[in-house]
């Protein structure tokens, strides 16, 4: 955990739960199988935050250039997401060149996807108050003020030291951690 949560570290925070009628534990199993068979998984997402090309890719690349690894931190939550169950068949890292999605990988009901591997169970708290938005037009905004309402994911930088003993109302409980692999995030269709 301390390896991840230190000042200057980059993390991509995301709430996860039932998606397109599929419970979270089933999604996790399926994604691990994809990693085993294809070497990586594509974790679908949507919404207007964390655009693959203008937010996620430059954000992760910037930290990697500085020799730092960006982790995807997932907060399990109860949700009743009932999106379309259509499987995407192609992905693109630049919105111009499209490739078929490898057979073992299934992205369902999403417009974008994170490219990840090493999907692990890890239990710890993340204080959003110790983070700041690190990409896009809200760059610099405190994480706890940004992640609210319809905003359920964010490219964040840990800005302050974490006090594991502090009682923190802005803390969220992380249940799963994954590592990004090139090209970090893609558009799917």
């Amino acid at each position: 955990m301390t390896e991840i949560l230190h000042p200057g570290a980059g993390v991509l925070f995301m709430k996860v739960g039932t998606h397109a009628d599929e419970p979270l534990d089933e999604i996790i199993k399926r994604k691990r199988r994809e990693i085993q068979e294809a070497g990586y998984a594509l974790w679908g997402y949507g919404g207007g935050t964390c655009h693959p090309l203008t937010a996620v890719q430059p954000f992760v690349r910037d930290f990697e250039r500085r020799g730092s690894t960006v982790y995807l931190l997932m907060q399990p939550m109860v949700s009743r997401h009932l999106a379309v169950t259509e499987r995407a068949t192609q992905f693109s890292a630049d919105g111009i060149v499209w490739q078929p999605i490898p057979k073992p990988i299934n992205v369902i009901g999403s417009r974008y996807a994170f490219a990840i591997n090493e999907l692990k169970n890890e239990e710890f708290d993340l204080s959003l108050a110790t983070t700041r938005v690190a990409a896009g037009i809200s760059r610099g905004k405190p994480g706890d003020q940004y992640v609210k309402g319809r905003v359920d994911k964010a490219c964040l930088e840990i800005s302050d030291p974490v006090d594991p003993n502090a009682h923190d109302q802005a803390a969220v409980h992380i249940g799963f951690v994954a590592r990004f692999v090139e090209p970090f995030a893609v558009i799917v269709k």
Binding site: G48, T49, A55, I96, R139, G140
Partner: protein, 290 residues
């Protein structure tokens, strides 16, 4: 917010009362006609209430003048022209041209202008990185460019430069850019923009802070301001308009490490334009024995 906007509006345009219902309905016609925004190109649409007040303001500011829009996803150009043509507001420009790289936007404006007989409104399919070789000379320009969060305002400068070229460095301009006291980058971009204006022979005539909000999932409270620029007397163009290809100006144009690769967005023509797209739905019929 409304109170503040009304104060600002009435301070600038004391003689400008208009039928708010008719104005909102007219703006609704325009909004209905806009193509959906492409976020990867920073197409982020202003909310309808702010469009009403902004259109009124711009129509008054450009009254009797030839107005060039350097990019216009919001469709303020259409609103300004339409409100005046429908006599909802008694002032407006005599000519409006929209320069935009998105053919969907150009065609949507052209279709609306055609159906509503807005003869003074036209479009030019144009990318701001190409030299602006318009033979037509304009009196004033308007731009709401990519706000430059990741490029210290460089994208803003490119759009302003084309606006200044459209008015031959003589006419006034309105620049709409991010203005949020809690976001440092907006303040840095405001400084860089004003520096660029001064270097170009312009000065800030007025800054109307925190006026507009946008359809933004991740930043619904992010606001923009109107930065109103005026050319110094006897200001002259620094030279002919040229293509902009300098990588240092472009490397973060649409966000960090996101240089422009797309010259034009082309519209895929549809037969069901303006109606629900056929791939959005299918019909399920009543059973025969009903």
């Amino acid at each position: 917010m409304w109170w503040f906007l009304e104060q600002v509006t009435s301070a600038i345009m004391p003689e400008a009362p208009f039928d708010i219902r008719a104005a909102v309905n007219a703006i609704s016609d325009v909004v209905q006609n806009r193509p959906r925004p492409l976020r990867e190109f920073d197409q982020i649409y202003m909310k309808a209430g702010d469009m009403v007040l902004q259109s009124d303001l711009i129509a008054h500011w450009a009254n009797g003048k030839k107005l060039a829009f350097i990019g216009d996803g919001d469709a303020i150009s259409v609103c300004v022209t339409y409100l005046h043509a429908r006599k909802i507001i008694p002032y407006g420009p005599t000519r409006v041209a929209v320069f935009d790289f998105d053919e969907r936007i150009c065609n949507a404006i052209a279709r609306f202008a055609d159906s509503e007989r807005l003869g003074l409104l036209s479009t030019v399919h144009y990318n701001v990185l190409d030299a602006l070789n318009s033979r037509e000379e304009f009196d004033c320009f308007y731009t709401n460019p990519p706000w430059g969060a990741s490029n210290e305002g460089e994208s803003v400068k490119v759009f302003i430069q084309r606006g200044m070229e459209a008015v031959r460095y003589k006419g006034d301009g309105v620049v709409v850019i991010g203005d949020d006291p809690e976001l440092e980058w907006t303040q840095r971009v405001l400084v860089k923009t004003q520096e660029f204006a001064l270097q170009s022979g312009y000065y800030v005539q007025r800054l109307m802070p925190q006026l507009h909000v946008y359809h933004l999932d991740d930043a619904p409270e992010l606001q923009s301001c109107n930065l109103m620029l005026r050319a110094l007397p006897n200001n002259r163009p620094p030279g002919p308009s040229e293509d902009i290809r300098d990588p240092s100006r472009l490397e973060n144009f649409y966000g960090r490490d996101a240089p422009p690769r797309v010259r034009y967005v082309r519209e895929k023509l549809r037969l069901d334009y303006g109606k629900a797209n056929e791939n959005e739905y299918e019909l399920e019929l009543w059973a025969e024995d009903r």
